[in-house]
Subunit: 196 residues, 2 copies
Amino acid sequence: MRKPTHKTKILQEGLRVVHERGYSASSVRDIIQAAGVPQGSFTNHFATKEAFGLEILELFYEPIQKLMAETLLNDALPPLKRLRMWAETGVNSLNQNNQWNGCLLGNFGAEANAEIDTIQARLAEIFSEQQRNIAYCLRAAVKARELPAKTKCGDLAVFIHASFEGSLLLAKAQRSLVPTERFKKVLFSTLLSPSA
Amino acid sequence: MRKPTHKTKILQEGLRVVHERGYSASSVRDIIQAAGVPQGSFTNHFATKEAFGLEILELFYEPIQKLMAETLLNDALPPLKRLRMWAETGVNSLNQNNQWNGCLLGNFGAEANAEIDTIQARLAEIFSEQQRNIAYCLRAAVKARELPAKTKCGDLAVFIHASFEGSLLLAKAQRSLVPTERFKKVLFSTLLSPSA
């Protein structure tokens, strides 16, 4: 295995630090210290803290894109099963082991302010893409007669996405898995139940 | 009208600043400058920034408690009507006039980390109280036969609360009212429709 570069260390450890403490609460010094690299290497690799923030956003989003490709967008599987796999894997991969860090996307969304414009713009794109992918899967479910023909897939997709992010946020704030458990339970017993 | 005290100015302007920029991103200097009071008056009134954070949390929560008393807990009105008033007034009072600040409770929840323990603890209490109040109203709706007898009110209350906060978070991040509009629409056309 090749030794990780300073840039890789900064991104990996920096992602962990920002996910734990929040973007504004994490100083460049915190990130450098966690990565165990010399002070100068941050500025060597990132023009600004915002540029670093954008890269960790992509790093966090990569496995989510992979998950969406394997579930929401995977026409080889029954649509509601795909949706369930996406929802369960998504919420179950966060807030684990008493690490109440929530979802980095949601955290960035809540923190977003005028001072981190490029991060906010990219985040808005990511959220739109997630909503499009959920809607794609819902439309497949309607086509497969797993959901009623009258289902408003675009509206429902945004609602499900909000519930998903909201449950991760409440789980973090309440330090409890109850909100994410209720999200999965109510979603599949009501909104996405075959008889809905 | 009595002239506002320094403490009142710090709380009012500080709440605005923190709601706009986030808690960690707002320095005591930012807050003092916005309030137009001398540097020393912050430390005169607040032992720590965290103590100030707790007070603005209460200040923000006050009208929400009032709203819940007038809607969710108001037995003089039909239950689903109360729920609709709560949901609509709640989301419509935030993210207005192109100020994409989200909900201060959700923002604190997403930012919360080990360094702001007392704020996090109070926030968890507030979220539990909101969920209890939603559940109270849902149980009243079941009793009034506005919802089916089989409705799992406790589970559904947490789900609705997550969707509510999630939609405010997405609206903020996407700088669009679509997520909160979809929240209201889907909530009342599916989960809380009389035929559900």
